[in-house]
């Protein structure tokens, strides 16, 4: 039989049991939709992570105190007392690949304005920190080099902190308290959103490093140094130069572990990319299980349909249908269901991933590869799960089939 006749007969048979055909297709629709949506949303998330990391500046190099691991344990940033302000100055002066650097140390503290309390991270640094992170002020100014020299009680607020302390009020020139110390607000940072790792970067206060060290933590060492390399390509060279320099300055002998950690933002990006890729893959494989469940649904309905239509099959065979004709007829019904279901599933999946991306303000990403793979996979599901019932139909004994009530 020619292709159009087969298709026509299949569509007609499916139309006779509309509700059943739709419910059967629903399994495939959900399966394909879930695959497309998870891959789409996953890739959107991946893209978002990359954008966030890129927005931090791709020539950034982070130096933090503490070794990567010591006896399997990763030590926290504050646990080591070896990273100093002089290290930072040496890095700027002696590493040719480094453009500038800012020191950093932080502590958690209760911050109060009027009746509003907010528990946040107070970072001590120098003004160039905001340039290195390419982080502009939304209002006011940064504290100055003089403020650092004099350990002035001035603060720059992150957007989240501003919201929680001031709401709609203007924070400029207001006095807040960090712990028991009064600080004057000189500026508010522009909102930066989540970091590549999902932390809220706006939930922070910045004060001069000297103020933090002398008046809040009482500790003279640094927790981290933020470095910008002269270019993105130079960031790897900067990483190497800093490592060599600090090992030398900290008198670490060959074979001994570093007591600091130097991370290149490109590496961070790669790591984040890898983990979100694995997540996407995991979700997609869970989703494709539902596609297989959908296939089993098709097989189930086709088996019922073959039994119900035993007499029809008997008639067709009696008037001269070949085994292959009957096989094709039932196989095409299964494939038509899975293909239509797959097509609708692609639309549904694309639609919902658009919706989710829109809600989360993530970049829209519908992978053509996922669409093609879902289309091919759903067709194969139809062939695979439709074959057994169709073969059963084709091999019916015509006499038995004609006697069937």
């Amino acid at each position: 039989m020619d292709f159009t006749s087969i298709l026509r007969i299949a569509l007609r048979a499916l139309a006779r049991n509309k509700m059943r055909s739709i419910l059967t297709m629903l399994g495939i629709i959900i399966g394909v939709g879930a695959v497309i949506a998870t891959v789409g949303v996953g890739q959107g998330a991946q893209q978002q992570v990359q954008n966030n990391i890129a927005s931090m500046g791709t020539n950034l190099v982070f130096v933090s105190a503490g070794s990567v691991n010591r006896g399997g344990l990763r030590l926290g940033g504050g646990a080591t007392k070896t990273l100093t302000y002089d290290d930072m100055k040496a890095i700027v002066q002696e590493s040719p690949a480094v453009a500038s650097a800012a020191p950093g140390s932080s502590a958690s503290a209760q911050v109060v304005f009027d009746n509003n309390n907010w528990y946040t991270r107070v970072n001590g640094t120098e003004p160039q920190y905001f340039d290195i992170r390419s982080w502009p002020m939304a209002s006011g100014t940064s504290f100055t080099g003089d403020d650092v020299r004099t350990a002035a009680d001035v603060a720059v607020l992150g957007e989240t902190v501003r919201q929680n302390l001031f709401g709609s009020a203007d924070p400029a020139g207001q006095t807040i308290r960090i712990g028991n110390l009064p600080f004057q607000v000189v500026g508010v940072l522009a909102a930066k959103g989540q970091s590549g790792m999902g932390a809220d970067q706006d939930d922070a206060i910045y004060v001069p490093i000297t103020t933090l060290q002398k008046k809040i933590t009482g500790q003279p060492w640094l927790q981290y140094i933020v470095v910008s390399a002269v270019s993105q390509q130079a960031s790897y060279a900067a990483q190497e130069q800093i490592t060599a320099l600090l090992r030398d300055r900290h008198r670490i002998r060959p074979g001994q572990d570093d007591d600091f950690q130097v991370r290149n933002l490109a590496d961070v990006a790669q790591l984040a990319d890898q983990s979100s890729r694995i997540m996407t893959l995991l979700l997609a494989s869970i989703a494709s299980v539902s596609l297989i469940v959908g296939g089993i649904g098709i097989m189930n309905i086709m088996l019922v349909s073959v039994t119900e239509r035993t007499r029809e099959i008997g008639i067709r065979v009696a008037i001269g249908a070949q085994e292959a004709d009957v096989l094709k007829q039932f196989l095409s019904e299964a494939v038509v269901m899975s293909v239509i279901g797959g097509a609708i599933g692609i639309l549904v999946g694309a639609g919902s991933s658009l919706g989710i991306s829109h809600l989360l303000h993530w970049p829209i990403s519908i992978s053509p590869l996922a669409v093609v793979a879902a289309a091919v996979f759903s067709t194969m599901v139809g062939i695979f799960f439709g074959y057994y019932p169709a073969r059963k139909a084709a091999q019916l004994d015509p006499i038995e089939a004609l006697r069937f009530e």
């Binding site: 008997g314 008639i315 067709r316 065979v317 008037i319 249908a321």
Partner: protein, 261 residues
């Protein structure tokens, strides 16, 4: 009635031509696990082209079993069945399907039309399996329906047709691929007497045009319309004789009162 048959068949004379059907010592067992049903116990029969044979017999005497063998829907447990000189046992599934499709037309007691499928599409079905081009399929199906007097009912579904009309659709379907043998298993079993005679008129006309007809019936007055009558009992042929005083269905119809339609 329009002619649908191949000219060669119309000139066939019964005597010296080789038989279109030759059955030699055919047995058929149905294996039901513990018991075996011996449905056919050594049947020998020859049917020449252009014959009109009625097979009679009590219920369970093996008539349907025999017809299913003739129709290549089933195979004998032993013995031989030669269709136009070819031993059917030698043929594969594909060839048997093709014989059912082109050489044989089968009409059943229960009509066996596809439900929710128009008369025209039902009749077209065998041409589809014969892989004829679309235009020819339609042309043939229409002509076959016109031939059985249903030119006006082509788009009707079986549920919208009377029993007699449904059986005519089934006959049109059996004829659409221009077979050389028409097999009918109790085609009038579900029909009233007038409609039965109308069906017999169609069969007589077809036979007059040269078509070989084998008809199973348990009603003696239906068997009368054939030219030769065979009686089965307990899986064997007990009587085989020409029909005397064969009535013309067309004549009989004129004497019968028209009930409806």
């Amino acid at each position: 009635m329009a002619t649908l048959l191949q000219p060669a068949l119309r000139t066939a004379s019964a005597a010296e031509v080789q038989p279109v059907i030759r059955v030699e010592d055919v047995h058929k067992y149905y294996d039901l696990g513990e018991t075996k049903v011996h449905a056919l116990r050594g049947v020998n029969l020859e049917i020449a082209p252009g014959e009109f044979v009625a097979i009679m017999g009590a219920s369970g005497s093996g008539k349907s079993t025999f017809m299913n063998l003739l129709g290549c829907l089933d195979t004998p447990s032993s013995g031989h069945y030669y269709l136009e000189g070819v031993d059917v046992a030698q043929l594969g599934k594909k060839e048997l399907a093709s014989i059912r499709n082109r050489k044989l037309g089968f009409v059943f007691q229960g009509f066996n039309l596809l439900a929710r499928t128009t008369a025209l599409e039902n009749v077209e079905l065998p041409t589809l399996y014969a892989r004829l081009p679309k235009e020819e399929r339609l042309e043939r199906a229409k002509r076959a329906l016109e031939m059985v007097g249903l030119g006006e009912r082509m788009e009707h579904f079986p549920s919208q047709l009377s029993g007699g009309q449904q059986q005519r659709v089934a006959i049109a379907r059996a004829l659409v691929n221009r077979p050389s043998i028409l097999l009918a298993d109790e085609p009038t079993g579900n029909l009233d007497s007038r409609t039965s005679v109308e069906i017999m008129q169609i069969f007589q006309d077809l036979n007059d045009q040269g078509l070989t007809v084998v008809l199973v019936t348990h009603e003696a007055d239906i068997a009368h319309y054939a030219r030769r009558s065979i009686v089965f009992r307990d899986g064997k042929i007990r009587r085989d004789e020409p029909v005397m005083n064969r009535p013309e269905a067309a004549e009989v119809l004129r004497t019968l009162p028209t009930l409806e339609d």
